[in-house]
């Protein structure tokens, strides 16, 4: 079972998503460009340089919203230019969802 599936299974709202989990989801939802090493130090690399356009990020965040029961506004997603910024928005929502639960 993948880390994503374990988290989903246990519905661990309130815990933090890390880079490795996000890159795993990007790989699953939008594939990987040839020549891009998603396992490298990419936390501050712009999505555009990783070969992901806005639709690829939207496809991935849509999946995250469904699987983790959180809501991310389209504006939020558009503002997140790097994995660090997107993780910030996601973890903010996860924390809020955890408090609400």
């Amino acid at each position: 079972m993948t880390a994503t599936a374990v988290r989903h299974k246990n519905n661990l709202k309130g815990t933090e998503m890390e880079l490795k989990e996000l890159t795993g989801l990007l790989r699953e939802c939008a594939g990987v460009d040839e020549g891009v090493d998603l396992d490298g130090d990419v936390i501050d690399t712009p999505f555009a340089e990783l070969g992901y356009d806005s639709l690829a990020v939207l496809q991935t965040t849509g999946h995250i919203e469904r699987e983790y029961g959180i809501t991310l506004s389209d504006d939020t997603v558009a503002e997140a230019e790097t994995p660090r910024m997107l993780l910030g928005f996601i973890n903010e929502s996860l924390t809020a969802a955890g408090r609400a639960a």
Binding site: R27, G31, G51, Q59, G62, E65
Partner: protein, 421 residues
């Protein structure tokens, strides 16, 4: 007509082709009887049919049970992982054919320049299989479950866009939607772009909607064969014609400005020497169907006459009335049994927007190899069909070929390809 005379005329056709006619320098094929140009051409000359019950969905509960499905296509082998989540099956086939054609033509990005090359494809329905999956997600689970890529993956212009992006072809691009005539109409539109200054256009059609939604939509047209014997289901011009079998795939070509092709020393399959499109008269008005006029205009456009044509690739609807109309158009131009006629699509089914361009590819390889591919399964021509139908591959010099295509709704297109000038 003696074969000596035929050979002399063949030579004459090449001499009379205008040196300004665009040339085809690359071919890519994904067809139900072969993946890749040479595999498909070998199968086609050998009379190997790709018509069978489809594997990707269970058609056994539908009135029509047979399809032409591209065999052995593993998308991950041909398509980068980045493109897999965003592409319908027929777009993956189109990307595969485009990559083969571009590789085959040998032009480099440096040759083409930033805006020197574009993409003009034909389409009929867009990505139906992708669309069906996402619409099912919408009504069964909700909007949150619909792929973001639905926004363009099911759009009929998607193949032109994906090919253009993948290969950096930023010149004029577009899409033509004229059902089965589209495979020729796209190449006609590509020729217009070359005349306006483009160097190379990737053009043709790769199509397909072999999924329950596509199947149901096509069944309502009333032209699909419900015969379940793969050797008897699609019999154009035959006394037992009962409609057609739909298929997927097609061909993409690189069409080039002839001066540019010469300059870069390109290998040339042949010239796209003439093209024309017509509409049928409005239903009920009783005028003559427009197919013959399209053929006459395409010949005139090429500067040739019927005597120069060595083979006709027929539209081959498989519907008795449409077969009769096409046979009359051909005999009206060439006389009874006056020219070899063939329909290799009897091995693939009708490929919607992919059909005309796959016939163009076959015509070009007939020119290259001096052989006419066969029409399979047809064994008894319907009364009044006075055609010399080629039933086994026929060795025969081909200097010029006429390709015919009709699209549902009154579209007619005709193209003439010749040996290069």
């Amino acid at each position: 007509m003696t074969s000596d005379l035929r050979v002399r005329e063949t030579t004459a056709a090449a001499e009379e082709v205008r040196p300004t006619a665009p040339v085809v320098t690359g071919i890519g094929v994904t067809a139900p009887n072969g993946l890749g140009t040479e595999a498909w051409w070998r199968a086609t000359l050998a009379g190997v049919s790709g018509i069978r019950p489809p594997a990707r969905f269970d058609a056994s509960g539908y009135p029509a049970k047979l399809a032409g499905e591209v065999p052995g296509f593993d998308a991950a082998e041909h398509i980068p992982s980045r493109l897999l989540p965003s592409t319908d099956h027929m777009t993956r086939l189109a990307l595969t054919a485009a990559a083969e054609a571009l590789d085959d033509c040998g032009a480099t990005p440096d040759d083409l320049g930033d805006f020197g090359a574009g993409v003009v494809t034909a389409a009929s329905a867009g990505g139906f299989e992708f669309g069906q999956r996402e619409l099912q997600a919408l009504w069964s689970k909700g909007g949150q479950y619909v792929s973001a890529y639905q926004s363009y993956a099911w759009f009929y212009a998607v193949n032109s866009g994906q090919i253009s992006i993948r290969h950096g072809l930023r010149g004029p691009s577009g899409v033509v939607v004229t059902e089965q005539a589209g495979g020729l109409d796209a190449v006609g539109q590509a020729r217009r772009q070359l005349r306006k200054g483009s160097r190379l256009i990737v053009t043709g059609g790769v199509d397909g909607a072999l999924c329950p939604w596509g199947w149901t939509a096509q069944l309502t047209g009333g032209r699909m064969s419900t015969v379940d014997d793969p050797a008897r289901a699609y019999l154009p011009f035959d006394a037992a014609a009962s409609g057609h079998v739909p298929g997927e795939g097609g061909a993409l070509l690189t069409l080039e400005d002839p001066a540019f092709a010469r300059e870069r020393g390109a290998r040339v399959y042949g010239a796209f020497a003439g093209y024309a499109a017509t509409f049928d008269p409005a239903p009920g008005t009783g005028g003559e169907p427009g197919l013959r006029r399209a053929a006459e205009l395409a010949l005139a456009d090429a500067g040739l006459t019927a005597h120069h044509i060595d083979v006709v690739f027929a539209d081959a609807a498989g519907v008795p009335e449409l077969d009769r109309q096409e046979a009359e158009a051909i005999t009206g131009l060439f006389g009874a049994r006056g020219v070899p006629v063939t329909a290799p699509k009897t091995m693939t089914g009708r490929l919607a927007a992919g059909g005309g361009s796959l016939d163009l590819a076959a015509a070009l390889l007939s020119v290259r190899d001096g052989v006419i591919p066969p029409t399979v399964h047809v064994d008894r021509l319907a009364d009044g069909i006075a055609l010399d139908l080629v039933r086994e591959a026929r060795e025969h010099p081909v200097g010029a070929a006429l390709v015919l295509a009709r699209g549902h709704g009154g579209f007619n297109a005709a193209a003439v390809v010749t040996a290069a000038a």
